[in-house]
């Protein structure tokens, strides 16, 4: 009940800030453009997911941390009221993560609806992209919260860590993986490669997309390994549970931090 009151206030406040509408609009523009230029097929969806894999982690982490700093007054006001800290934490988190996920989902689905892509294209692929985007939104907002709470008094540090983590996970990590392949190409490294891609949530999402559109062949023999592993039931189960772990651990840690914090 109280959590709902907090959520409605925050959603109203976010809408008043208007930037969340702009964020949804970006996805709308991108999806619209991709469908126009690439046709309503897998090509458009692939481009959309590529952009999503870059943008969602960045916005989620940076805004997750920034939002905590911005809501400091709100948090302090509420902490002096009869409300328990877990409720307040979930209220704060849901107040940002749910609108972020919704902005992505709505911005992406609308052009698909009015171009009729939702009927012509493979529904399973569309649902996969939407599902991954929503999970990534929640996941990276949680990570942003974690950084924000860890460096609550030092905003520059919190935002800096968020930015560097994004750079590492979204950009540098792939380079490191490639470097590993290049350096140890003569050895049987399929299994370590599997593990490497498992511990980065963006990679995990990327591989799911690649497999869905059946272009893992482009990734050479590691692609075949991924295909064999992730294509199986066990592979899907392991990948999903890894994503859930990535979603759960930052949230669990930041909730703990929030509960023990001095304000």
């Amino acid at each position: 009940m109280k959590a709902l009151t907090i959520l409605t206030y925050q959603w109203k406040d976010l809408l008043r800030g208007k930037w969340i509408l702009g964020y949804a609009f970006i996805y709308l523009l991108i999806t619209d453009a991709m469908i126009r230029f690439g046709g309503a097929g897998p090509k458009a969806m692939l481009s959309i997911s590529n952009i999503m894999l870059l943008l969602i982690p960045l916005v989620g982490m940076i805004y997750g941390a920034l939002y905590l700093y911005q809501s400091r007054e709100f948090t302090e006001l509420l902490l002096a009221q009869p409300i328990d800290r877990p409720t307040l934490f979930w209220g704060l988190f849901g107040g940002l993560a749910i609108p972020l996920a919704a902005a992505f989902a709505l911005g992406t689905i609308l052009p698909m609806l009015y171009t009729g892509m939702i009927i012509t294209a493979n529904l399973q692929s569309i649902l996969l992209i939407l599902g991954l985007g929503i999970v990534l939104s929640l996941l990276f907002t949680g990570l942003g919260f974690w950084f924000g709470l860890k460096f609550f008094e030092d905003r520059i540090k919190g935002l800096g860590f968020a930015l560097i983590s994004w750079l590492f996970l979204a950009v540098l990590y792939d380079g490191l993986v490639l470097l590993t392949v290049f350096a140890f190409g003569d050895y049987p490294i399929e299994k370590p490669m599997l593990v490497l891609s498992m511990i980065n949530p963006i990679d995990l999402a990327r591989i799911s997309v690649l497999l869905e559109f059946d272009i893992s062949a482009l990734m050479g023999y590691t692609g075949a390994v991924f295909n064999r592993f992730f294509g199986s039931m066990i592979g899907v189960a392991v990948a999903t549970s890894m994503l859930m772990l990535w979603l759960g651990i930052p949230l669990w840690r930041s909730k703990r931090q929030f509960e023990e914090k001095d304000f």
């Binding site: 109280k2 009151t5 907090i6 206030y9 406040d13 008043r16 800030g17 809501s71 400091r72 007054e73 709100f74 302090e76 006001l77 509420l78 902490l79 002096a80 009221q81 009869p82 409300i83 328990d84 800290r85 023990e260 914090k261 001095d262 304000f263």
Partner: protein, 236 residues
């Protein structure tokens, strides 16, 4: 009644509250005085659960507040620096907190009128002056008619007229039998509003008892002189 038992709080390797042991009597007004950085605000924040103690405990009406939150229903708190969500209007803020507390009180309207703020009800918090924000804080603390009222340097940003108005209000609340806890650096204010005095230096209690006894024992006319003497003694 609020009982503070062996309360200790460290921030890093700095001890702010050092084994504080004190009882704040119910139905009376208690003033907490002490130099800057002596732990007054930390004590209040610990009482509200904003700060978690390193050790020791606080009992409100004989019940430990550890892990509890519903006891805050009985407390009205006016912070030293009133900071509120910038985008909220005064009206929205009050309605929001009313919803949080499941209350339908109309006291906020009365108090807004009392402080001449009823015309500002649709103004956003960031458009308000510091003094106006303080008044909003005072209203927020008193609108739910809680049995415990906590004011942390309440009149620091108020003009003389509002300050007098505020003190009159606190007097009324005291007459109603509320437990009032007040910190201030203005000794005349403490003298005017409170009966019980707690003097803190570096997280240690140096005096805890009726105010008039302190003044008499220091052979002073006013509280200001008595407290100044006490500060000199602790410095020596």
């Amino acid at each position: 009644m609020i009982a503070i038992k062996n309360l200790k709080k460290d921030f890093g390797n700095q001890t702010v509250l050092n084994d504080m042991d004190v009882t704040i009597p119910a139905g009376q007004a208690t003033g907490i005085v002490g130099p800057n950085g002596s732990g007054k605000t930390t004590t209040i924040k610990t009482l509200l659960g904003l700060v978690k103690p390193t050790s020791g405990e606080i009992l409100v009406n004989d019940k430990s507040i550890k892990g509890e939150w519903d006891y805050r229903r009985k407390i009205g708190y006016m912070p030293q620096i009133a900071r509120y969500p910038e985008n909220m209007t005064i009206g929205e803020l009050f309605n929001f907190i009313k919803k949080m507390r499941n209350s339908t009180t109309n006291r906020d309207k009365e108090l807004l009128e009392y402080f001449d703020l009823e015309k500002e009800i649709d103004k956003r918090m960031r458009e308000l002056s510091g003094g106006m924000r303080q008044k909003v804080g005072a209203i927020l603390a008193m609108m739910f008619d809680p049995e415990i009222l906590i004011f942390d340097e309440p009149t620091a940003g108020l003009d003389p007229k509002s300050s007098v108005q505020f003190k009159k209000l606190v007097h009324q609340e005291k007459e109603k039998g509320k437990t009032v806890l007040l910190t201030s650096h203005i000794m005349s204010e403490i003298e005017e509003l409170t009966d019980h005095l707690i003097f803190v230096v570096e997280g240690n209690i140096r005096y805890d008892g009726p105010m008039h006894e302190l003044i008499e024992s220091k052979k002073e006319q006013r509280l200001e002189g008595a407290v100044a003497k006490m500060m000199e003694e602790t410095a020596a």
